[in-house]
């Protein structure tokens, strides 16, 4: 009876954690309650971690001699891992958020893989189901670990070109088949069916090696523009791996939390793929940048450069302005200046709104976060389906650092690689200003018909410099009037 009390407490704590996770995620679904949601989930996490130390009363006889060492190791691991991640999470810039999430996600996948490794090396699994589930969780966790690290390296600029070679799909498929085959061999070996050439621990190492290799191979050819979708996929993968290892450890909290994240990640991935008008298979298995060079429709008109100051003054005398920010704005670190300019316009009685495309930034919703960081209230920020009809009745649309998401070719040009992708209908506004560094093409390498339209003027230069010029022009106007 004495040993049953700890496991009762653990059970209750895990139950509470599962509830708090769900409730916390639910609260995160509205901007007004979101910041309390993460605290709710955090309480659940702390409770589950503290309660899990009660497991020391329940360990198997063979582990008892090591108990104090194990407790010490656990405390040290928690302190180092948690401390370093907390420290880095506090310091990371908002623009670097996608790679940070990728990194933390990879750690989760690695942890799930390590749990599976301990089960496998220690030969602790009982029964075929458990063994297969352990291997499956190990595979998914390991893929998520190595894939997330590659995604991190790409987003952080450590790797700056997609690595592609002929027959890549075949090699990737072979790596996956080989991993599964070795997994099958391990199952057979454990049940004494086959006589393996190598010892079981060696096969387990080969299994993990192949799974990690597959994660690397799978992620390397995917271009930077598709990384948001990839991170989301790996997030779902880690969730799934955690859920599966939760089953092996007979821990419902892990099962529930893992599967909730797995499903949530899958849904987010689908939403994002939809925003780019592509299927998930298309993102993972085809190389966007290498898309066959189809003939694009001929573009008529000229690029018309104007001074930033003139554009600023024109907006000052407009009734309504919709601003379309893209990642170029964040690269120029100009969000603060942009909001300063917006406040000036609002002071002059101009109605200003922000229109954010679902895939603006390097992960979905990142542009919303970057604007929020600059102090833009979230009720000024509108999503594509909320605001798209308003462009037609708007005086000025200001596009800063965005390109493909405002390319009307997606609506009109069947030959364009982005045809069918939902875009912001900026071209329908009465007048359009585009702030852009130069005449280069966008991420997808497509010419933008918007820039050649009769109603569009180009402001060339760094977004921050351009915005400062606009602010000064509008301020000068007010000063002259006074």
């Amino acid at each position: 009876m004495l040993t049953s009390l700890p496991s009762l407490v653990i059970g209750l704590a895990d139950l509470a954690a599962a509830f708090l996770f769900l409730y916390g995620l639910k609260r995160m679904s509205s901007p007004a309650t979101a910041s309390s949601g993460i605290f709710v989930a955090g309480v659940g996490m702390v409770a589950a971690i503290l309660a899990s130390f009660l497991y020391v009363f329940d360990v198997v006889e063979a582990a008892r001699p090591h108990l104090y060492a194990n407790i010490g190791l656990a405390v040290v691991a928690l302190a180092i891992g948690g401390g370093l991640a907390w420290w880095s999470g506090k310091r990371v810039a908002m623009t670097a958020m996608p790679q940070m999430v990728a990194l933390y996600n990879g750690m989760g996948g690695g942890a799930a893989g390590a749990i599976a490794a301990a089960e496998l090396f220690g030969n602790r699994t009982s029964g075929a189901t458990e063994l297969v589930v352990t291997l499956l969780g190990a595979l998914i966790g390991a893929v998520s670990l190595s894939g997330s690290l590659i995604a991190w390296a790409k987003l952080d600029g450590v790797i700056n070109k997609p690595l592609r070679f002929p027959g890549q799909q075949v090699v990737n498929a072979m790596a996956l088949v080989a991993t599964l085959a070795v997994g099958g061999l391990i199952v057979a070996a454990v049940f004494g069916i086959a006589v393996p050439l190598l010892s079981l621990p060696v096969w387990i190492c080969v299994f993990f090696g192949l799974a990690i290799l597959f994660g690397v191979l799978m992620t390397l050819p995917i271009g930077g523009a598709d990384m948001p979708v990839v991170i989301s996929i790996f997030n779902a993968f880690t969730g799934l791996a955690v859920g599966l290892e939760g089953f092996v450890l007979q821990n419902p909290a892990l099962m529930i939390a893992g599967m909730v994240v797995g499903a949530a990640g899958l849904l987010l991935t689908l939403l994002m793929a939809k925003a780019m008008n592509r299927s998930i298979a298309n993102v993972v298995f085809t190389n966007f940048g290498d898309a066959p060079k189809q003939k694009q429709g001929a573009i008529v008109g000229n690029l018309k450069p104007v001074q930033a100051a003139d554009a600023g003054i024109a907006m000052r005398y407009a009734k309504s302005v919709i601003i379309v920010p893209g990642y170029g704005l964040a690269v120029a670190q100009a969000q603060q200046k942009l909001f300063e300019f917006v406040k000036l316009l609002q002071g002059a009685g101009v109605v200003v709104k922000f229109a954010v495309h679902p895939v603006a930034g390097r992960m979905p919703g990142q542009m919303d976060v970057l604007l929020a960081e600059a102090g833009v209230p979230y009720d000024m920020i509108f999503q594509l389906d909320q605001i798209n009809d308003e462009f037609a009745t708007t005086d000025v649309a200001l596009v800063i650092g965005a390109n493909d998401v405002v390319n009307p070719a997606a609506r009109t040009d069947k030959g364009s690689p982005i045809f069918g992708m939902p875009i912001l209908n900026v071209d329908k506004a009465r007048h359009v200003y585009v702030v852009k560094r130069g005449e280069g093409k966008g991420y997808a390498g497509i010419v933008n018909a918007l820039f050649y339209g009769d109603n569009c003027d180009m402001v060339y230069g760094d977004a921050k410099v351009a915005l400062v010029a606009m602010i000064e022009a509008v301020r000068g106007l007010t000063a002259a009037a006074a």
């Binding site: 679904s29 993460i38 991640a85 933390y104 909730v260 499903a263």
Partner: protein, 112 residues
């Protein structure tokens, strides 16, 4: 482990089914504006894997198991702590025009 519920076969599948459905429904209602914090928030939630790592480490019988368990706890703790820190930072920035001047900061600063 008298109170440990044994979950095998179909019971586990039911748990997976319901949890997956719950995740799908909850996330389906999140506006696109919150997608980044949500992704990092769900990233934090699967940091619960640290608990699994703790079981592995506390029950370790050999130096190999200790080493693997140590890595599991280290990575899991990183996942949980990092996920929490970045999610909290992002969510603290979302505010309306009215609420802004008065309380721009989150109420509590939780210690790591």
């Amino acid at each position: 482990m008298d109170f440990q519920i044994s979950m095998t076969g179909f019971v586990a599948l039911y748990v997976f089914l319901l949890a997956g459905f719950a995740g799908w429904v909850i996330i389906g209602h999140v506006p696109a504006i919150l997608h980044t914090p949500l992704m990092s928030g769900s990233n934090f939630v699967h940091g619960i894997v640290v608990v699994g790592g703790l079981y592995t480490l506390l029950g370790a019988r050999t130096p190999t198991e200790q080493a693997i368990g140590f890595v599991a706890v280290l990575l899991g703790a990183g996942n949980a702590a990092g996920g929490f820190a970045v999610t909290r930072r992002m969510l603290a920035m979302f505010q309306t025009a009215e609420a802004k001047p008065a309380r721009a900061k989150p109420r509590h600063h939780k210690k790591g």
